[in-house]
Structures are given as structure tokens and as C-alpha cells.
């Protein structure tokens, strides 16, 4: 592991004694005209499970793609992303350097299992490829055997038979397991999961979450779990980062953030997901308005056009209050509210 750069003090240090495996500082993503993600900073300790929460359009997936260096053409990233054991800033690394990191030190599971596998290749070959591409396993038949082992590890029934199957012969939950097997093939230090269970039905989802949690625990892989489902975050993660309008608005231990939110947006999310609470007209609670289109967020605090507490101070960007845990709000929800 490389020592943290002394000239760049980490603004939100992690707990003592654990060198972070991933350090993100001031990450921004944007096109030539629009800022899509601004000033995202966080660290990830080895084996830590962090949830990235937010509505659609809040910049969660773009943040993950920026970490992998997989942003679409015309979208650029700024800031620094450092991965333990990898030299340099991943944001400015060449495509060639990134391709040695991807799948090896940092892997990703995508949202849609139905399209994330190549339809014309056998599942086992695709898993084996995940290993041979980084030269971990040179021998083809050894890679195939290892692939069957991996499919067994993600608890697919009949792993040898599944390895021979084509993707269309598997269910959504099975394919997502295959994706997880591929992502874990090289025992990456960091695993990014972009809403891996959103496309699955509820019972399959629960088993998948349990599988993700236990497999990353076995291999000591740190997890960034992107979701809009607060219940999922509570199940899987130790720490939560709440994103809105391309910024992290609140961070902290999951229990803390979900039980005593400080940011009005987090509070709104929690109220909206409480299906027993209703407003004075007997309707379920919602957050007023909707997420603006990219570039349509207000200056200053990004949430102020939907926030019940907003006033004139909110025209300025609120500073980050706290360290590793904290929030960015001028008028935080008080602990006893």
C-alpha cells in the first residue's frame, strides 16, 4: 500500500489504524457546459461497506462510473481518486493504465443483469475471461475450472451446468450472481455495485444482498453499494453517503443517518419511505417538487428549491459540518426534532 500523500491532507479522515483502500477527493464530473457531480470526497477502509443513496439523477451512477474511468464520451471528471497499491490519480490516468486496474483492483456490478452478459458466449467462458484478461490464470482449462468454482461460490445450483449455459437460459437473479462471480474473479480491493438488485424481484433481492454481504466479507473486499432503497442500505452497509444534485449532502454510520438525519433531504427521503406516516390530508408524505434535470439545480444549496427550511442564507453553498460523519446544510434538522 502507498502512504497517503502528505501534501494532500485527507479532509475526512477515516478511523485510526485503517489505511484507506480508496480515497476520493474533490471529485467532479461534468460536460463542457454542465456540472453533474461536484466536490465528492470520501474514503473507504479495507472491507468497509458504504452505501451511496439518492434519487435518480442525483449523480450516484456517474460517481461510480467516474471512479472506474468509464464515463461516456463528452463527460469529463476532475479531482483525485487514489487506490491503495496503484500509482497516481485514476482520474488523470491513461485508458491503458486504467484497463489494468479495472476488474483487477476495482470491479463493478451493473444494474441490469439481462443485458450485462454477452448473449452469444457461454456463461463459463465469460467468467473465465474475467480471469485470463488480467493474466491471473494463463491456462484456458484451468480458467474454466476456476470459473465453475466461482459460480459455486456465488451459490448457483449446478455450477458446471450453468457454466455451459448461455445467458438467455438463466433467470435475472442467476445472471446477477454470474455478474458478481465475474466481478469477484480477481478478488478486487474495491467492488462497486450499481443498484444490482433493482431489477430483481423482492425474494431474489434479499438472497442477492445476503450473498453480496457475505462474499465481500469473505474476501475482505470494500464495497460501494449504490441504491435508492433505504432498506437495502440498512441491510448491507455500515456507512451511508447521501447524494443529491451531484453533491454529498450527508454522511455517517448507517444507523445514525437513517435514525437521526441532519440534512432536510435525508429527512425527506426517510419520511417518503415511511408507508405508515401520512400528512394532514391523509396522503403519503413526499418531498415537494421533483429532481430537476441535469443543470437545473439551484446555485448555493442544491436542495433549496425543494427544502421546507430554505431561506436567503441557502443561496450560498453550505459548508461541510463535521468530519467523516457530517452534513452540508445551513439549517440542519436538530437532534430532538
Amino acid at each position: 500500500m502507498t502512504a497517503p500523500d502528505p501534501t494532500e491532507p485527507d479532509p475526512r479522515p477515516d478511523g485510526p489504524g485503517r489505511d484507506p483502500v480508496l480515497t476520493v477527493t474533490g471529485l467532479s464530473v461534468g460536460t463542457d457546459r454542465l456540472n453533474l457531480v461536484s466536490d465528492v470526497s470520501f474514503t473507504l477502509a479495507p472491507g468497509e461497506r458504504v452505501g451511496l443513496i439518492g434519487e435518480s439523477g442525483s449523480g450516484k451512477s456517474l460517481t461510480a462510473l467516474a471512479l472506474m474511468g468509464l464515463l461516456p464520451e463528452g463527460v469529463h471528471a476532475g479531482g483525485t481518486v487514489r487506490l491503495a497499491g496503484v500509482d497516481g490519480n485514476l482520474v488523470t490516468s491513461s485508458e491503458r493504465a486504467l484497463s489494468t486496474v479495472r476488474g483487477e483492483a476495482m470491479a463493478m456490478v451493473f444494474q441490469e443483469p439481462m443485458t450485462a452478459l454477452n448473449p452469444v458466449k457461454r456463461v463459463g467462458d465469460q467468467v473465465a475471461e474475467a480471469m485470463t484478461v488480467h493474466g491471473r490464470v494463463r491456462d484456458r482449462s484451468a480458467a474454466r475450472r476456476a470459473a465453475v468454482g466461482l459460480l459455486d461460490r456465488v451459490r448457483l445450483p449446478d455450477p458446471a451446468g450453468t457454466a455451459r449455459a448461455y445467458p438467455h437460459q438463466l433467470s435475472g437473479g442467476q445472471r446477477q450472481r454470474v455478474m458478481l462471480a465475474m466481478a469477484l474473479a480477481n478478488e478486487p480491493a474495491v467492488l462497486l455495485c450499481d443498484e444490482p438488485t433493482t431489477a430483481l424481484d423482492v425474494t431474489v433481492q434479499a438472497r442477492m444482498l445476503e450473498l453480496v454481504t457475505s462474499t465481500v466479507a469473505e474476501s475482505g473486499t470494500a464495497l460501494v453499494f449504490i441504491t435508492h432503497d433505504l432498506a437495502v442500505v440498512a441491510t448491507v452497509c455500515e456507512r451511508a453517503l447521501v447524494m443529491y444534485g451531484g453533491r454529498i449532502v450527508e454522511a455517517g454510520p448507517v444507523g445514525e443517518v437513517l435514525s437521526r438525519p441532519r440534512h432536510p433531504y435525508t429527512r425527506g427521503l426517510l419520511d417518503a419511505s415511511d408507508l405508515t406516516a401520512t400528512d394532514e390530508r391523509g396522503r403519503l408524505r413526499t418531498i415537494a417538487g421533483s429532481v430537476p434535470a441535469a443543470g437545473g439545480f439551484p446555485e448555493g444549496c442544491v436542495f433549496r428549491n425543494r427544502c421546507p427550511r430554505a431561506d436567503i442564507t441557502c443561496a450560498a453553498v453550505p459548508p461541510w459540518a463535521g468530519a467523516d460523519s457530517g452534513y452540508a446544510c445551513w439549517h440542519p434538522v436538530e437532534r430532538d426534532e
Binding site: 464520451e73 484497463s99 450485462a116 448473449p119 484478461v133 488480467h134
Partner: protein
Amino acid sequence: MSGVADHGGGWNGDRAATEARGAARTVNASLVTGGVLVATVILTALLSFLWTPHDPVHNDSGARLLDAGSPGHWLGTDKFGRDVASQLMAGARITLLVGVVAVGIAAVVGTPLGILAGMARRGVGEFLMRVNDLVLAFPALLLAIMFGAVFGAGTLTAMVAIGIATIPNFARIARGGTLQVLSHDYVQAARAAGRRPVGIALRHVLPNISGLVTVQCSVSFAIAILAEAALSFLGFGTRPPTPSWGRMLQESQELLFSAPALALWPGLAIALAVLGFNLLGDGLRDRLDPRLAERRT
């Protein structure tokens, strides 16, 4: 995890069922008709190496312009006394040779070009495709005639010229398919797994567009056959004495009113071969079209 077995336990049986359904779909009229016609042309060409009723290039001055059905000459003889049936059989060789070489050149050059144009930066891809349009706009026959004038008319020149003129068709098809494949998550997933662009092109794009390219091969084969016949008819293709369907047509032209059957046989052969490859292409399209394939599963 017995619950998962509920999901997956039956997949071996499912697979058998899927394959049975797929087999039922293979009974496809255009595929079968096209396949039979193409097979006939290929078998005839192969047979002509071993056996023809007569030497196709032997001039028999005693047996000129015999009618079809004459003893020993089922389809009659031409003005030089050459056996028409034997010439047709030997002409199938040239037809296939031209098709294979021309389509080979076009597919081998055009497909990678199209994949490159699809995977390169947008500006580079657009530039390649505009150059492609320029070549596409140039008439194939004119290009072949120019080649003939510069390098000398002959089968080789014709094949190369037809091949070059067909490259843009493959490039365009391959680029379209590539863009479609690139929009799928598994390409993103492959990049996330550390695959480099060349690896993605070979392992993900090419296998997924191979159906499109195969169909284009069959259709282009038909066009190449027609082009070779046209060039030979104009005197820019296969040179005498090598038998060629196009030249047989040309030689029969002056006798069109006295011996119309001489034009009928090679014309029929060309029409059936072209029809065969076109039907085969259509049938393959039905079988290999990714959208239809998805509906099938």
C-alpha cells in the same frame, strides 16, 4: 438455497425445449429454396472439374447450332459447335470464384473498417463513414471498367474491382451492428473487467455482428455474380476461351432471333444463381436477426 433451485432447477429441460422450438423454426421456405439453388450451383461447379458431357472449350465445326435435345447435346451447341451444357457447368466455376474472391475482399476489409468506425471517437467514425459514402456513390461497374482499362481486362481485375466496390456495404452494415452492440451493458461490463478495445472488438462485437455480416455476404454474392456477368457481357470480364455465363450471353446476342435458346440457358443460370443467393440471404436474415432471435427465446 433450495429456493434458487426452484429458479434454476429446470434449465436443462428448458434448454432442450428451446432447442426443439428453434429447430421447428429452421423450416423456412427462402432458406431451403435458396440453399438448394446455391448447393446446385456449387455441386455443378465441383462436378465440372471431374466430368462434363463434352470438353466445354472444344470447337466442333460439324455440330454448330444444334438444337436442345440433340443426341449427345442436351442443351444444343453454340455457333462454334461447343456444347452448351458443358459450358454452363464450367461457367459455374468462374461465377463462384468471382463471388468468393470479391465478397472475401469486401468482407475482410469492410467489416474491420466498420467496427473501427463504430468504436472510434465520434468524429473519426463520422469521417470514415463519409469516405465510405463517397466510395459507395461510385458505380461498381464503372470502377471495374476503369480497372480493366488500367490493369487489363480479366477475371482477376473484375473480381478485385467488384470486391473493392462492395467494401462500403460491409463497412456500413458492420458499423451499424457495432453501434448497436456497443450500446449494450455487457460491453461496459467488459470494459469494467479491464478489457481493452481490441479485445472488445474481437470477443464481443465480432461474434455479435457475425449474423449481419453473413447475411451481407450472401446478398453481396448475388450482386457480384450479376456484376461479373455484366462485365463479361461488356468484354471486361472473363476472357475467352474460359467459359463464363456472361460471355455466353454476349456471344448469343447476334443470334438472338435465330437461336434464342442460346441466350435463354446462361440467362436462366444467372437468374437462378442470383435468386438462390438472395433467398439464402433472406432466409439467413430471418434465422440470424438478433431481434428475431430474442423473440424466439
